[in-house]
């Protein structure tokens, strides 16, 4: 899938004098805080959000990372 913004930025990197940038893709990062009863629920809710709302799987790939688990024991 061609990423025209990534290609344009790659061309600009060469004009800045940085040669050898073979691949440059531009995407987006979404940070969110979620309340959920446990990690499994959080994971499945985040997967649903990523697949149906945050990304369009026709044109975008996604991966998610869980960072801090706050108050897990509660």
């Amino acid at each position: 899938m061609l990423d025209p913004a990534g290609e344009a930025t790659r061309a600009a990197a060469a004009r800045l004098g940085v040669e050898g940038v073979r691949r440059l893709r531009i995407g987006k990062a979404i940070e969110l805080e979620l309340e959920a009863p446990d990690q499994g629920t959080a994971q499945s809710q985040l997967e649903l959000l990523s697949d149906r709302l945050f990304a369009n799987p026709v044109i975008e790939n996604w991966r998610l990372e869980l960072l801090d688990l706050v108050g897990e024991q509660q």
């Binding site: 899938m1 061609l2 025209p4 913004a5 344009a8 709302l53 945050f54 369009n56 026709v58 044109i59």
Partner: protein, 217 residues
């Protein structure tokens, strides 16, 4: 009977569509606010161009969850005539009523110019006023009109005759020169060009008039 025109926060061609349908074609219309769900008495629904919900996240991504579109989805699946113009086409792909997706134009520029198109109406309800292979000119005005889908998907669309509008001189890098697509039933049409801006000679030609006038018969 009346034609519904969906209005999202950020729609900006809703009034143009009303002007074209009422003033040029002679139909009555009803605006459907994004929170409306009642489509009773409507003969067809138009999802107009603009920047629904600011096009935040992705074009059409948030609009897809609007209450009105749940009703439009049922309306389309029951065979109702649905037209998505520009942002409306993007919304139809996000809803899954049409396959593929529309992405940033190949050379990144917002394009606002007349586009020469070739029509292959097939069974598309909206294009019955055009002949097969007819060349027409409609205005385009978009930054994200580059149609993309898997090559197998494109082959299937072409084999089914669903690629009903093609650019004569591809301005945005769309695969297969796709400018407009219909669904297998022919009742749903999504297109990037703006037929509502080509319904009066004073505003740039008449080639869009027959598309909207298809609702008259």
């Amino acid at each position: 009977m009346s034609i519904g025109i969906v209005v999202f926060p950020g729609s900006n061609c809703d009034r143009d569509v009303r002007w074209a349908l009422e003033g040029c074609v002679g139909l009555t219309t009803r605006f459907l606010w994004h929170e409306d769900t009642d489509l009773s008495g409507l003969e067809a629904v138009v999802i107009p161009g603009g920047f629904s919900y600011g096009d935040y996240l992705r074009c059409g991504a948030i609009a897809r969850f609007a209450p009105v579109l749940e009703s439009v989805q049922e309306f389309a699946e029951a065979g109702g005539a649905v037209l998505g113009i520009c942002n409306g086409f993007q919304v139809l792909t996000e809803m899954g009523l049409l396959p593929g997706a529309l992405t940033r134009n190949a050379r990144l520029h917002f394009l606002c110019e007349p586009a020469r198109l070739s029509v292959a109406p097939g069974n598309c309800h909206w294009l019955k006023g055009y002949s097969d292979g007819e060349a027409i000119v409609l205005p385009i005005a978009h930054g994200e009109g580059r149609y993309q889908c898997e090559s197998e998907q494109l082959a299937e669309l072409e084999a089914n005759g669903q690629v009903v509008l093609r650019y004569a001189s591809n301005p945005n890098g769309s695969v297969g020169d796709v400018a407009g697509l219909t669904n297998p039933g022919g009742n749903v049409l999504g297109l990037m060009p703006h037929p509502e801006r080509a319904c009066d000679p004073l505003t740039g030609g008449l080639d869009g008039l027959r598309l909207l006038a298809s609702l008259r018969s």
